[in-house]
């Protein structure tokens, strides 16, 4: 019994064309190696000449093209006819397409993202409340690194469907700060003071010019919008420096930044409120008829 099994196994093993399979495997391994070398070479060549985004795209393209060529060659070596393989791949694609609709949708969205190019690697984008630097644009998803160093994976489909804000698209950005000033203050004086701060600050650009708008009469302050432009890579620094400078300048000038408070005012035509001074609580309770009844 065992001998019979051994014989059939030997026959089976002997029937396999080992040399063909070994050369197929060799071609595949060679393909992977050459594809990585070619990709690395192209990446090194492009690093100094192109943006990070383009370098990554071309590197990936070169890798897959070289790999595909070797894969086809390996299939031929193994004795598969390319027509049959392609036909099988077509059927397989339909089957896989139905089975993995989400992945297929993400892949197609990824292609649209590549064509539309709403952002590049290295840009700061905002998607559904997540802000981060784009570290990779892959077949299925885009990877972000948030400012607090979290790795966030966003499916390509989400990026196609929702609103994406690219914060690094243009080289300059406008900062809008809201400054509340007490009603008693001279608004023109405050406006000149703020514009002078914009002139002095080295991060704030001279052109486009900074401006101050009165946006409303708030419950406890007159609200001003102070807008100035900064280079896109110095947004945080610009905002913080300016906030500190505003606080310092207003304090030095004795201009009040009011915190929310409520004034009760009866109006000029009505009688003033009657204010009655009461005795301490313990003594009032004694004279309170309700307190006596309940006690």
């Amino acid at each position: 019994m065992i001998e019979q099994f051994e014989n059939s196994l030997m026959q089976f093993v002997g029937a396999i064309a080992w040399s063909k399979w070994i050369s197929t495997l060799f071609l595949l391994i060679l393909g992977i190696l050459l594809a990585s070398f070619a990709a690395r070479g192209v990446s090194r060549f492009m690093e100094e000449r192109a943006s990070r985004h383009h370098t990554v795209m071309v590197r990936r393209l070169v890798f897959y093209i070289v790999l595909a060529i070797f894969f086809v060659a390996a299939l031929r070596e193994a004795g598969f006819s390319l027509d049959v393989v392609l036909g099988a791949a077509g059927i397989l694609t339909v089957a896989i397409g139905f089975a993995s609709q989400t992945s297929a949708s993400n892949m197609i969205s990824g292609l649209f993202l590549l064509v539309e190019k709403p952002f590049e690697i290295g840009n700061f984008i905002e998607v559904e409340g997540t802000i981060g630097e784009v570290v990779a644009i892959d077949m299925l998803s885009v990877k972000l690194r948030t400012p607090d160093n979290l790795y966030v994976r966003i499916p390509n489909e989400t990026l196609i469907k929702t609103r994406v804000v690219n914060r690094s698209r243009f080289p300059i950005r406008r900062m809008d700060l809201t400054v509340g000033i007490a009603y008693a203050e001279d608004l023109e004086r405050v406006e000149n003071l703020l514009l002078e701060l914009a002139r002095q600050n080295s991060v704030s650009l001279e052109e486009p010019k900074a401006f101050v708008l009165v946006t409303g009469f708030g419950p406890s302050s007159v609200d001003l919008q102070f807008s100035f432009w900064v280079p896109a890579n110095r947004v945080l620094e610009g905002r913080s420096q300016m906030m500190v400078a505003i606080k310092k300048a207003l304090d030095e000038e004795g201009i009040e930044i009011p915190f929310p408070h409520t004034s009760i005012y009866a109006g000029s035509h009505s009688e003033p409120f009657r204010v009655e001074l009461l005795r301490p609580e313990t003594s009032t309770k004694k004279g309170d008829p309700d307190a006596d009844q309940n006690g």
């Binding site: 243009f170 080289p171 300059i172 406008r174 080295s202 991060v203 704030s204 650009l205 001279e206 052109e207 486009p208 432009w229 280079p231």
Partner: protein
């Protein structure tokens, strides 16, 4: 904050491009423009400290002295490992890496079909090089440059430095300071209408720096020809310095070489 007059008199004049030598433990102190710089040599390292001070308009000299005392320890320090055993150091001027928008305090009108020459002083950066091979350590701006945007829209354009100028038409009226480079700009208005010069874009990275015998820095002249449209003009950088500069030597080459053999450039929005 400024150094007393007595101390100033004991201090020497600093110069661009010459080699100074320090012994380990010594500090070279500089006072120029809005900046104070301390360069210290220790056994194994170079230390550089700098501080911004308000510019004293009366101060025309670049003051420097070598002391054996270490600077105030509370100041921020940049430390560099000594690249070699050389004790030499030198200071080289550099023009800004971004183009500079020159804005006259009062706009100047150039009549139709006429030209004028204005003299513009621009801010410099100080490069510190040390050791036998002149290893580059840092580059400090000698004042805080302000930034501006030059472009048709906020989407397209470039970031530039901005400098206010008196747009002086007489060279003698231009204050001579070792920390300012003087650029003569010839503006030719070939239009039939007058040209109101409110601001213009000077390609400072394309300008080389030359020093005269008195330590004043000059750049080659720049000619701007405005032919038709106010928003476009031809700009040419001269090969030579103006005769008034006298005998000068090249102190620092231009940061960038201009394209097309370099001398003619069509500029968009040169006049802002």
């Amino acid at each position: 904050m400024t150094t007393s007059l007595e101390t100033q008199q004991t201090m020497q004049d600093g110069q661009w491009g010459i080699h100074y030598t320090l012994e380990p433990g010594q500090t070279q102190y500089h006072e120029l423009s809005h900046t104070r710089v301390w360069v210290t040599l220790l056994e194994q390292e170079w230390q550089i400290r700098s501080q911004r001070v308000p510019e004293d308009d009366n101060q025309k000299r670049w003051l420097q002295r070598v002391t054996d005392t270490l600077p105030d320890a509370e100041m921020d320090v940049q430390r560099f490992v000594r690249p070699d055993n050389g004790n030499q150091l030198r200071y080289l001027p550099a023009m800004s890496s971004l183009a500079t928008v020159i804005r006259p305090h009062q706009p100047l009108t150039i009549a139709a079909n006429s030209e004028c020459m204005i003299y513009v002083g621009t801010l410099l950066w100080m490069r510190i090089q040390v050791g036998n091979k002149g290893a580059h350590l840092v580059e400090l701006p000698l004042a805080d440059p302000s930034l501006t945007w030059v472009g048709r829209t906020t989407m397209e354009g470039e970031l530039c430095y901005s400098a206010a100028t008196y747009a002086r038409l007489v060279l003698d009226a231009v204050p001579k300071r070792p920390w300012r480079a003087i650029t003569p700009v010839r503006i030719v208005n070939e239009r039939p209408q007058p040209l109101l010069l409110e601001r213009f874009n000077l390609p400072t990275p394309l300008l080389s720096l030359h020093g005269d015998e008195k330590g004043q820095l000059w750049t080659p002249g720049v000619t701007v020809v405005c032919e038709t449209d106010m928003n476009s003009a031809r700009l040419r950088i001269d090969h030579r310095l103006i005769a008034e500069a006298g005998h000068c030597e090249l102190v620092a080459p231009a940061r960038e070489q201009s394209a097309r053999g370099g001398l003619v450039r069509a500029y968009d929005r040169i006049f802002g």
